[in-house]
């Protein structure tokens, strides 16, 4: 494969485009509400109407407004049909050439769509994730070809450095810096890993990217492998994502057939094999050192860092590990240039971020917005606020490692620094909206239970500390706790945060600390008076001098 082949494929693909396209969402959300038989019915209806030469029925990735699925978009008229049933197929096909189908239509001019900015999801809902040609038609693999044939590995890394891209897996570590470290690490064998473990409850951004645009992730990994000098890649994806897995398998197979993976990619000396590794669904296996242990076939538990994976990773070799969304940004950056990307977002947080908007909000689904977008714009404009006239009380970001941002701070821009100033984190992109009826102590307990169950059990503060914190939170919820219990809880938060081995334990207290910071009253109003009885004041012997 050389540049000309790419261009030819693209031209062939564009030339074969039909006048009308019905894009059917085939991502997990819509698939679970019968999108497959809807697509089959649409194809039948097209055939029945004798329109096969004019209409393409294309399975695509996520169309974003997941709460209204199954979704079908009709082009070029740009009509988004919502909650489509297989019976509606004929009407939709009939309406292609004018007229109205009696099917509920979404408002594509709603801020939910218009305020989005797509880099990571640019192909989502447009290309067919099961056909590599469809990706190539959207300029796919062009960045890889240009890098391999026209750029030094260091230039690729420099491009990522200058773009200001930061890791989307949670911590926001500068991606270019990480690549540079791996590139500089000495070793004959190096690895690239894509972290697709996505364990936060309620998060489905990475899943959507993998289901909607798997080639973008492969291309991003290939660019990274070239930049750091790796020839073997792994995608660690949870086994609970069968659709993502099968699309990745298809994508890898197709890329190999085209010579875009394997040996001598684009007829250059660059070789890359990418294999899948399936995780069994332990949250902690998303932590990079635990993930690598799991890939090596060991029990997935974290180990102390340093040494960092960049120096000693998989089988003690230098290893680059990035999140799905991080990799998915890479082809666009290499294609459009670092300056283009650096022009989007805020000073320290560049580009866009994908969020899975969920909870007590009208429009739930997948959104991608420029960094620095105000939370209020996301929640009120795009999300449409709380349903049924309720009021929003708080927004939770960062899942079990994150915190709650109270309604009063909704004008906070979404970027790494602003969120952490409020005691929350960007996290991987879960965003849960809570309304007035939400019990914040119960929310804290829910996340603590999650961390307690998902703790790997290796280190004492996290294993025993989360269990004890959960016990104390349960006592508070049950109105059986005293002020002293609350003090113990706060002390444990501090201890677990500062002494745990890995990020799971270090961040497990965050939901408690954050709800205590903004909703302390909900804790204190449940406290019971202490019935332990304090000692009297005067005493013949020293008394009561010790804290219990």
């Amino acid at each position: 494969m050389v540049l000309n082949d790419l261009i030819q494929i693209k031209e062939r693909e564009l030339a074969s485009r039909k006048k009308y396209v019905l894009r059917c969402c085939m991502a997990a959300g819509c698939m679970s509400s019968n999108a497959q038989s809807l697509k089959d019915e649409l194809e039948k209806a097209v055939a029945a109407a004798g329109l096969k030469d004019e209409v393409e029925v294309r399975g695509v990735g996520c169309l974003k407004l997941c709460c209204q699925g199954p979704l079908v978009q009709a082009d070029p008229a740009e009509i988004l049909y919502e909650r489509v049933k297989p019976e509606d197929a004929a009407a939709i096909v009939a309406a292609l050439k004018g007229g109205q189908a009696k099917v509920s239509q979404g408002d594509l001019n709603h801020p939910f769509f218009t305020r989005q900015m797509s880099i990571v999801l640019a192909n989502s809902g447009i290309v067919d994730p099961e056909r590599i040609d469809s990706y190539i038609a959207a300029d796919g693999y062009l960045a890889l070809r240009n890098a391999l044939r026209e750029m030094e590995p260091k230039e690729v890394t420099d491009t990522i450095v200058r773009s200001g891209l930061r890791g989307r897996g949670g911590a926001g570590f500068p991606t270019g810096l990480k690549w540079g470290t791996v590139a500089k690490s000495t070793g004959t064998k190096k690895y690239v890993i894509c972290n697709a473990d996505e364990g936060d409850p309620g998060a489905f951004m990475d899943r959507s990217v993998l289901e909607s645009d798997p080639h973008a992730v492969l291309e991003g990994m290939a660019l990274a492998a070239y930049a750091v000098g790796a020839d073997q890649g792994y995608i660690y994806v949870r086994a609970e994502y069968p659709l993502a897995i099968s699309r990745l398998q298809t994508a890898i197979k197709q890329a190999k057939q085209y010579g875009l993976l394997g040996s001598g990619v684009f007829e250059s000396p660059f070789n890359l094999t990418i294999d899948l590794r399936l995780g069994a669904g332990a949250f902690v296996c998303g932590e990079e050192t635990a993930l690598m242990a799991s890939v090596e076939g060991k029990r997935g538990t974290p180990r102390p860092r340093p040494p960092f994976p960049a120096e000693k990773g998989l089988w003690n070799c230098p290893t680059l590990i990035n999140n799905v969304e991080t990799f998915a940004n890479v082809p666009a950056i290499v294609r459009n240039g670092a300056e283009w990307f650096a022009g989007i977002g805020t000073e320290k947080s560049k580009g866009t971020k994908v969020f899975a908007l969920a909870g007590k909000i009208k429009n739930t689904g997948l959104i991608e917005v420029p960094m620095g977008t105000k939370l209020r714009d996301i929640v009120e404009d795009m999300g449409g606020g709380a349903p049924d006239g309720g009021t929003i009380k708080a927004v939770q970001t960062g899942g079990p490692s994150g915190g709650c941002i109270p309604a009063g701070s909704l004008d906070t821009p979404v970027d790494y620094e602003s969120l952490s100033k409020l005691g929350s984190i960007m996290g991987s992109g879960g965003m849960i909206v809570m309304d007035q009826a939400t019990d914040m102590v119960d929310v804290a307990r829910f996340f603590m239970e999650f961390c307690m169950d998902e703790s790997c059990g290796k280190c004492v503060p996290c294993r025993a500390g989360t269990a004890q914190m959960h016990h104390l939170l349960s006592k508070i919820v049950a109105r059986k706790a005293t002020a002293e219990d609350l003090a113990k809880l706060e002390e444990l938060c501090d201890m677990v945060k500062h002494t745990s081995l890995c990020g799971l334990g270090q961040t497990a207290p965050n939901p408690v600390m954050s709800t205590l910071r903004f909703f302390r009253g909900e804790y204190t109003e449940r406290l019971q008076p202490d019935t332990l009885g304090r000692p009297g004041t005067e005493s013949a012997v020293p008394a009561g001098s010790r804290a219990t």
Partner: protein, 238 residues
């Protein structure tokens, strides 16, 4: 190999190039509490009792897995560290069922000793009283999960000193447990050579010789050290 110099609790100390903070402190006669560390097998940094402060580094560092850095200034016994250690020990006692008065290791238990040294005269947290079994299917040894602190010393000696690979960890969080072979009763684990190294390595009364009664179980750490020294350094020093 060049040496490094650093300060530990105000003392100038020199250490081998690849030494850990724990090595350096031990050599200088400064005691840092440890539980998961076992001389002669690799460290895993799990118990977090050896955490120390280093001036200029915001995070606490596990002494057993952190390599010394030239000029570093380590404090091993600050108020904050002592507080964290005490909480850590209390969490361990509250987590499972430690009834010292009926324990085979009473008076010979590293967990107990650490608790005393940290002034733990009672536990401020509610005891959680989980239900755990005792495995006495092995003809020579017993395993009482009630007293296990999951330090995995037994697992590491089993794999890396004896080479049998019988013991392992299974499960998550507080329900993690030491298992034999494929979660079988220990007595049915074919790979076990009955060498007893795990029993020697165990810091608590979780692993014991059958027939030992209250307070009788003394873990023969010297014997284990002898074996490890012999293997690693080819020195037969009794």
């Amino acid at each position: 190999m060049c040496a490094k110099t650093l300060t530990i609790d105000g003392n100038e100390v020199s250490a081998a190039d690849d030494a850990t903070i724990l090595d350096a402190a031990t050599e200088a006669g400064i005691k840092i509490p440890t539980l998961c560390h076992l001389e002669g097998v690799y460290d895993i940094g799990a118990c977090r009792l050896c955490l120390v402060e280093a001036v200029g580094i915001p995070k606490l560092l596990p002494a057993c897995t952190t390599k010394v850095v030239e000029g570093m200034n380590v404090r091993t016994d600050t108020e904050r560290i002592r507080k964290y250690r005490r909480i850590n020990l209390e969490l361990l006692f509250a987590e499972r069922n430690h009834v010292c008065s009926v324990c085979v290791s009473n008076n010979h238990c590293e967990l107990q000793t650490l608790a005393y040294n940290h002034g733990m005269d009672h536990v401020r947290y509610d005891y959680l009283f989980p239900k755990w079994a005792v495995d006495t299917t092995h003809p020579r040894y017993g395993m009482d999960h009630n007293r296990c602190i999951l330090c995995t010393r037994c697992v590491r000696v089993c794999w890396h000193v004896e080479g049998a690979g019988t013991l392992n960890t299974a499960g998550r969080g507080a329900r993690s447990q030491i298992i034999a072979d494929l979660i079988q009763p220990w007595g049915e684990a074919d790979s076990c050579t009955s060498c007893g190294k795990c029993v020697m390595a165990c810091p608590t009364g979780a692993l014991f010789q059958r027939g030992a009664t209250v307070g009788e179980m003394e873990h023969d750490r010297e014997k284990l050290e002898f074996i490890i020294t012999a293997r690693e350094k080819k020195q037969w020093i009794p």
